[in-house]
Amino acid sequence: MTDYVIRFKLRQRLEHIGVMSLFVVLCVTGLPQKFFQAGWAETMILWMGGIDRVRWIHRAAGVAFALLTFTHLTTAIGMVITGRSSLSLVPTRQDFTDAIVTLKYYLGTSDIKAKFGRFDYRQKFEYWGLVFGAVIVIVTGAVLLFPLLVTRFLPGELIPAAKLAHGNEALMAFLVVIVWHIYNAHLSPDVFPFDTSIFTGKVSRERMEHEHPLEWAEIEERRRRGDRKVWVK
């Protein structure tokens, strides 16, 4: 029997490191700009060398983030088209059922636990939240970076609207990461203190049986049929 499965390929692990570092840089240089009238924000901006430098770092990190998102999405779409990737992240009707079953279980009105496949509804929610959020901040960020170009074709009111949307979307992403992602990856009793799988790529067999029973059953089934492509070592 095996002790762990490889859950994330190297490319996915690197993508996580990339998005994580850029997210930190963008929040550290971006949120003080949104709240610049607060004392802490001004202190941070001055500490980083003034608003002109903070803006420069934020824009450079934003362009890198846009490139990373573009690469991720085109690669993902390409892999789905060529059949090298499953559609395991696409939300289905089952996810809504799972969410209701889970909430009932949490509330104590039912003892039935939802059984999850490769990605549970919370993980899909976070992934698609990140993708949609990324598209919004990238598009609005580009509007703010090129206001002269944008207003050649579109109304000027779009600029302040983009500014509000950019800051608020980023604030929401920051809060979701602080509240939800930190809980699920660090503070939840299921993984405390640190779910290392996105860095090592590995998940223990016990956790697979517990957290992704449907995927684990599928892996077992494919191994019995002699499928060598299954990510098991």
Binding site: I45, I51, L148, E157, P160, A161, M172, V176, Y183
Partner: protein
């Protein structure tokens, strides 16, 4: 600074002879006027100028010092009769040497002048730099702000061009045509004794505060139907944010950002409703183009003209604001709730 030291030295040795007299004693006036009421009394200076030494008793007695000061309170070195010869080649040299006489009583205002652009010019050796008496007069001093428009006219003695521009501005017209006492005169922005200007370090970035002095005052602005949000809406926007952070980091020479005066003008500020106003929506893009070369027609609408977004003004911007004001608490609240439920279930299971 060296010049003021030289001046002080001159005063100490040359002028402060005799015992200090208590001001408020005008008894010497008659004694002095025994000679100085003569219209023909004059002195010819080494540069050839003939200076009348006639003093008009009526003018002096009507001045603020009339009945309060005597001649030697200021002319403290003129106690000997006949007066000894003075080393001044020109009338201006005399004025400069006497410049510090006012400080014996007016010390606070005198020390403020040391921080002025005028004193900086004097210290550079420019003897045309204005001294106390150039603005206030000498034997004929009357309150400088009566009427208030007199202040601007006093500055116009030298700053004629600026005064002409100011007189045509919304502030200047109200001052001269309507005798309005609310509008700023020169000294409200540039200060009276510690006179400053755009060459003063940090002046540019401090200038919005000058405008805000009046334009954030609710009782004052209510009289004219002007919004007091002009400062907060400016600060909340990109330019205002840059300006306030540059000011915090004292980056006067940093990246350029638009201040009040860059769009509205300085001495030539016009009423925003005027067809000629540069900040009329129809004219505004030309103002934008001064910095944003090639800005298209739509670009100026990116600035919401000091309005807070609302359903009436900038409904799209306001819609985005409302959308996130609802979505963020809903989203984060929901996630926190699910975390709490999860933790509760974990505790119950144990």
């Amino acid at each position: 600074m060296t010049h003021s030291f030289v001046l002080s030295f001159l005063l100490m040795v040359g002028i402060h002879q005799g015992p200090a007299r208590a001001p408020g004693n005008g008894q010497d006036l008659d004694a002095c006027l025994a000679c100085h009421s003569d219209h023909s009394l004059s002195v010819t200076l080494p540069d050839g100028e003939t200076r009348s030494l006639f003093i008009d008793r009526v003018v002096f007695e009507r001045s603020v010092h009339g009945g309060k000061l005597g001649c030697v309170d200021c002319h403290s070195d003129m106690t000997d009769v006949p007066h000894a010869s003075r080393p001044f080649k020109t009338r201006r040299e005399f004025t400069v040497a006497y410049y510090e006489q006012c400080k014996r009583c007016h010390f606070a205002n005198y020390s403020k002048t040391l921080d002025s652009v005028h004193h900086a010019a004097l210290a550079r050796g420019d003897s045309t730099a204005p001294l106390c008496v150039d603005c206030h007069g000498s034997h004929d001093i009357t309150p400088p702000n009566q009427p208030r428009s007199r202040i601007s006219q006093t500055c116009a003695k030298c700053h004629e061009g600026v005064q002409g521009t100011y007189a045509k501005s919304v502030h200047g017209k109200a001052l001269f045509e309507d005798q309005n006492r609310d509008v700023p005169v020169c000294t409200d922005c540039h200060r009276a004794h510690d006179v400053g200007g755009p060459r003063e370090p940090g002046w540019r970035l401090k200038s919005p505060e000058i405008c805000a002095n009046c334009h954030t005052s609710a009782p004052l602005m209510k009289k004219y139907g002007i919004s007091t949000n002009v400062m907060s809406t400016y600060l909340a926007d990109f330019h205002g944010m840059t300006a306030s952070l540059h000011k915090s980091q004292q980056a006067d020479g940093g990246a350029v950002t638009a201040l009040c005066i860059d769009c509205h003008g300085v001495h030539d500020i016009t009423k925003v409703g005027d067809q000629a106003s540069p900040v009329m929506q129809a004219n505004l893009v030309k103002v934008c183009q001064r910095c944003h070369a090639g800005a298209p027609k739509n670009f100026s609408a990116a600035w919401l003209s000091h309005y807070e977004p609302s359903w009436q003004k900038a409904p799209f911007v306001y819609g985005v604001k409302v959308f996130y004001a609802v979505l963020i608490p809903f989203m984060i609240g929901g996630l926190v709730l699910q975390i709490l439920l999860h933790l509760w279930r974990v505790v119950v299971n144990r």
